[in-house]
Assembly symmetry: C2
Homo-oligomer: 328 residues x 2
Amino acid sequence: MPVLTLAEAEELVAGALVKAKTDPENAKSVARALIAAEAGGLKGHGLSRVPTYAAQAKVGKVDGFAKPSLEWKKPAAAAIDAANGFAFPAVDLAVKELPAAARKNGIAAAGIHRSHHCGAAGHPVEKLAEVGLMALMFANTPGAIAPWGGSKAVFGTNPIAFSCPLPGRPPIVVDLSLSKVARGNILAAKQKNEKIPEGWALDADGKPTTDPNAALAGTMLPLGDAKGTALALMVELLAAGLTSANYAADASSFLDAKGPPPGTGQLLIAFDPSAFGGGLDHFAALAASIEGQPGARLPGARRLALREKAKESGLTVSDALLAEIKAI
Amino acid sequence: MPVLTLAEAEELVAGALVKAKTDPENAKSVARALIAAEAGGLKGHGLSRVPTYAAQAKVGKVDGFAKPSLEWKKPAAAAIDAANGFAFPAVDLAVKELPAAARKNGIAAAGIHRSHHCGAAGHPVEKLAEVGLMALMFANTPGAIAPWGGSKAVFGTNPIAFSCPLPGRPPIVVDLSLSKVARGNILAAKQKNEKIPEGWALDADGKPTTDPNAALAGTMLPLGDAKGTALALMVELLAAGLTSANYAADASSFLDAKGPPPGTGQLLIAFDPSAFGGGLDHFAALAASIEGQPGARLPGARRLALREKAKESGLTVSDALLAEIKAI
């Protein structure tokens, strides 16, 4: 299989998007995010997205030329309009503007609306932690999870990401979605004609199912059952309620070029530890109590190792995907 | 069994605490919180706590006379020193001070350290939502959950609470701990000489166990396996890392009168929806999409119904617990 350096891969992706009605700066922002995800082993948020992103930009479901705009409505609260463009330029803007506001006010947040798929939510919080801030991010996605006891998806898989700086080493990064498994696992079972385990999904009537086709017509189950559904509701209200973005049920797919823009939302929060009494040494103490246990490691450690490896050895891309991207 | 009105129950609890070396105002704050939890069906955070709270105050593990102090270190960030007193007066102070700062800055947060058991984390966020703010609360607790792959508890059961205002009706309230089940379920199995289901707990070597005794000597499993452990780490760092409070592993028990004060932490965050573009009508739309589904309801609805019932019919207390509280 072909191997690309990270720089080559970014150039490939940015070039493909520019050919698909996208502004070069926006294309670079998207390419950086997708390649960082691919390098960290998050292939679902990596190169595999390029063909569908390009298709959406071509038909205007994503406005590749949109420039996000930011308004500080209050000293520590910014509203960012992603203007139905890609999410990444809007997220980049939040990451650029939040540190000064967080240092001045102790905490600051940016809500993004008219947005799109934000990929690996761990990246923006990691960047904030790299400049010494603790950070949280919440995002909603198109409908996937039903309310507990219900059958219609009104929440997305709704990622939560968190990052905490550590002295002299990369930050701790938590990045998880609230569905028990990724939808890709159900698609894979369908392709192999296999049943799925109970507990992954419900059918269209809200009943447990082991049939991947019924699951794809139904809803995903969250981690932790009723508690997970409550967390999905919380993220939906933080990421889309607070920001006036579209809720999951009103958001079109991130994966095809049909319909209006998804218009989803994201919320980033940055904390200046010194304003609350915390500090790097105290954070390091918790990290040590985890890493001192045989078999335990910090969340994000695996992605970090994969990313380092990708920096040295490049990314392996399938012939089919490479050809598909080159043909855009 | 005896029945008390809510006012009688509050008076009973406050009176018992005053007899156990606690300042009357602090005792009232604790009593309000415990009775609100009891009324909402959260008996683990209600009257059952009075004897152990009183025992801790008597020996000074909790300083019943401590007055919390608040410092705005930055315009939107307050550090509250609970001064090794009960958590509730410190939490009350946060709930009192946050609304003005959130309205001015768009978002504001208060970190509490040298704190104690904060009971039902849903209550403070609910009070913030009652004045029109969206709110989050994170708290750490004494060691209960091991890092994924490890065997020593370095995270508490670490509640997350969230509340969102709705127009003309009580707010949505999410309030959950990150352990799969409450420790009380394991104690109950032990008392009945029953095994516990797999997936609830690990033994002292970090191996799955169905023996309640081995589970009590080991650690609790979180909801959602590895993802839940990552969430517990996140809450530990937000509630205790950011606030410079004691981590779970260094916190003495909330349930006995032995050792130094627990010194745990809490973090409350309040958001002014108007500063991010959101608003009550948009929140109501999500509530409607949930309540419109047969079998589905908003989180917190059950507690609200129980509380209304308790207002009318009072609280039923066992003879034994009532006698124990009266004997303090």
